[in-house]
Symmetry: C2
Subunit: 177 residues, 2 copies
């Protein structure tokens, strides 16, 4: 029986923070940094007017289009498939109606070797039936019934409940030794 | 632990065949019947020109919009939730990029009591982690790891491998006695 690995998209395969920085600069002429965007305190540090605009970013078509690819993800996912692992993409897209087509197109463009049968848009990842889940969200890893691997991100630094992988080379080492 | 039931959309909650009949009449001025649409032989019985048009229906925006609701589905799904079952919607939307927003809107309109966290657009339903799956597709029920209930449809009459439910009253009887 093939072992199945489910993989989250945002901050694991695709980098949405740069899009956020880009739109913030476009709208307010100010450069902000990844740590500040990822901070839970960020919404409190901007004016209400800015907050309203910023909160719509994730619900705007184009936000998830053409996002940068996280380094090593394409090569390692392909290598895992070549070595007999079954790969499913599992992204919590349901929260963002405007993201569906952008996310679908992004995968088709950058991961054409993953068949549509193995792509999942969901909400709560307790519904995912897999042996492993690679995700930057401790919330989703806790919901998941298999073995969770926490993909390192600024927002999850204080989480200690899961094996942490800092990059795709560590994912390769974990599964392929 | 709550028992979890995953439910397919097309031909279980929503009726896409009537949309097919409607568009066929619009394009060719000819009324066709459900059995003929559902038949695997249908594509061979029409001209190549018609076939090309018809094959695009499922890939056209609007096809899955405003579909009729299958009788009893709203009431019984609500009753199952009220009786402690956890309900997830699991539809193989990945095959049809144009269907994402139509399906999402249809659920929001007709099943607003199902949270977005519990909606899944997938391909192969082996990825669904649930106790039960109600589906009209023997292919998906065979892929599923839990207990499958075959929702009666014209195209699955010859299937004998699963408990068959003919309508939502039978679903209610199965789970609530």
């Amino acid at each position: 029986m093939k072992k199945r690995i489910a993989i989250d998209m945002d901050e694991v395969m695709a980098e949405p923070v740069s899009r956020f920085e880009e739109w913030y600069y476009r709208d307010f002429g100010e450069r902000i940094s990844y740590p500040r965007v990822a901070s839970k305190l960020f919404p409190d540090t901007i004016s209400e007017e800015r907050r309203k605009i910023v909160q719509q970013y994730l619900h705007t078509k184009g936000f998830f289009a053409d996002l940068p690819i996280i380094e090593g993800s394409q090569e390692v996912v392909k290598e895992l498939m070549d070595n007999g692992f079954e790969i499913f993409i599992a992204t919590a897209a349901m929260q963002f109606r405007a993201s569906f087509e952008d996310k679908y197109d992004w995968l088709a463009q950058h991961f054409p070797f993953i068949p549509w049968q193995n792509i999942v848009f969901c909400g709560n990842k307790s519904i995912i039936h897999a042996d492993y889940l690679i995700d930057d969200s401790p919330y989703q890893l806790r919901a998941f019934s298999g073995t969770g691997l926490l993909f390192d991100a600024h927002h999850n630094q204080r989480e200690n409940g899961f094996m942490r992988v800092h990059n795709w080379q560590e994912v390769r080492a974990y599964f392929l030794g």
